[in-house]
């Protein structure tokens, strides 16, 4: 049975063929024993893939509505807390003036201080910065090593599945290969084939 026949039989099974197409395929099934055998196998699999009817969990709609209320209350709570921070216009203007005055005073005083009394530069935060501060006399690292350190800082940790999933969902959403699979699907299928020997 070729791929086209396989698709056509599946369409017959799924009720996707119109009356004329159905008659044509049924006629072929009566005339071609090999196709008829394939049809029986396909139909057998379709029937065997059977799952029981699950009753709706009691109180499901109530739970959904309760969650909606909780979310709405949460949002109202946040809005109320934010409102407490909203000061009248005169108080906002006074606050801005005080802040500006403080900054100006800091600049004037800072200019008069000896260099040794000036604040120290901020502590190094990245691996590259730490290397630069702790070993100032060492020869400069080759550019590729610096680049590698920067990349390792930027790439999410491999054990963060949320980040990985989001990267694939966001960056490649909408990409379809010839089978209509997204790139994320293709990637994950490859992962599972590697991990489980799964064929798809």
């Amino acid at each position: 049975m070729d791929r086209q026949d396989e698709r056509e039989l599946l369409k017959l099974l799924a009720g996707e063929l119109d009356a004329d197409e159905t008659r044509r395929v049924r006629r072929r099934l009566a005339e071609e024993p090999e196709l008829a055998a394939a049809w029986e196998r396909l139909r057998g699999t379709w029937r065997r893939v059977d799952l029981p009817s699950e009753p709706l969990p009691p109180g499901f709609s109530g739970r959904v509505m309760a969650q909606l209320r909780d979310e709405a209350n949460g949002r109202r709570g946040v809005a109320a807390r934010l409102a407490l921070w909203r000061a009248p216009a005169w108080a906002q203007a006074a606050g801005a003036a005080m802040l500006a005055g403080g900054v100006a005073l800091g600049v004037v005083l800072g200019q008069g201080l000896a260099p040794e009394l000036l604040p120290l530069p901020a502590a190094p935060s990245t691996a590259v910065e730490r290397v630069a501060v702790e070993a100032p006399e060492a020869p400069e690292a080759p550019p590729n090593e610096v680049a590698a350190a920067s990349v390792s800082d930027a790439v999410p940790a491999l054990d963060d599945e949320e980040v990985l999933a989001d990267v694939y969902e966001d960056d490649y959403d909408g990409y379809l290969d010839s089978d209509g699979d997204t790139l994320a699907d293709a990637y994950l299928d490859a992962l599972s084939s590697f991990g489980e020997g799964e064929s798809s």
Partner: protein, 210 residues
């Protein structure tokens, strides 16, 4: 429509009512949202259960899908039907969950337990209306085999199979739900059926060999 399904698509009158209800939901009408949940809860819980294979996880997924629908109701554009839009939200949510499960499993470098297909969650053991204990046992064994085979499918194939086989959606509707072409629906369903057939044969051979 597909054969052997539990429910087919709702008629046009219901679709008109759904759109009217959704317009009210978009305005933040909680009563209208309760009505939307009542009308579609069975469908969404069922599709999530069949996608995820776990009753509790499915219930949470369906609940989250409804809340996403509430938040996104204002953005709904009446290109497709309301129920396919709801299916889309629920199925996408389940697909994300399944993908994360697979990544976690891959990163933990532990394969699936022996005899399971892969994404299989704890089994549920529903009551059966079979007349005798032997028939009931046979039904349960059949369901377990089917569940294992479905759990072994890649998520994208599983989604197409569930929508076609159990939800009775037409190819066109499945394409709309999943945002793929008709050709991709056909291709995924063909691959799903091949994989199912092979998995069920393996399963039967193991049972006979045991």
């Amino acid at each position: 429509m597909a054969t052997g399904v539990e429910e087919s698509a709702p008629p046009a009158v219901e679709e008109d009512e759904d759109r009217a209800v959704l317009e009210r939901v978009a305005d933040g009408d909680a009563e209208a949202f309760a009505l939307l949940v009542e009308r579609h809860q069975e469908r969404l819980v069922r599709v999530c259960t069949r996608m995820l294979g776990d009753r509790e996880e499915a219930r949470d997924a369906a609940q989250e899908a409804f809340l996403k629908a509430f938040r996104g109701a204002a953005d709904y554009r009446p290109r497709g039907k309301v129920y396919t839009w709801l299916y889309r939200i629920a199925v996408n949510h389940c697909l994300n969950k399944l993908r994360r499960r697979r990544i976690v499993r891959f990163l933990s470098l532990s394969g699936p337990a022996e005899g399971t297909g892969g994404d299989e969650a704890p089994a549920f053991d529903p009551a059966t209306d079979a007349p005798g204990p032997d028939d009931a046992l046979e039904s349960r064994q059949r369901w377990q085999r089917a569940r294992r085979a479905i759990a072994g499918l890649p998520p994208n194939q599983r989604a197409v199979l569930v929508l076609a086989r159990f939800e009775g959606l037409a190819y066109k509707e499945i394409a709309e739900v999943l945002g793929i072409t008709l050709g991709a629906v056909e291709s995924r369903l063909v691959r799903a059926m091949r994989n199912l057939s092979a998995a069920m044969e393996d399963d039967a051979a193991k049972e006979n060999g045991a």
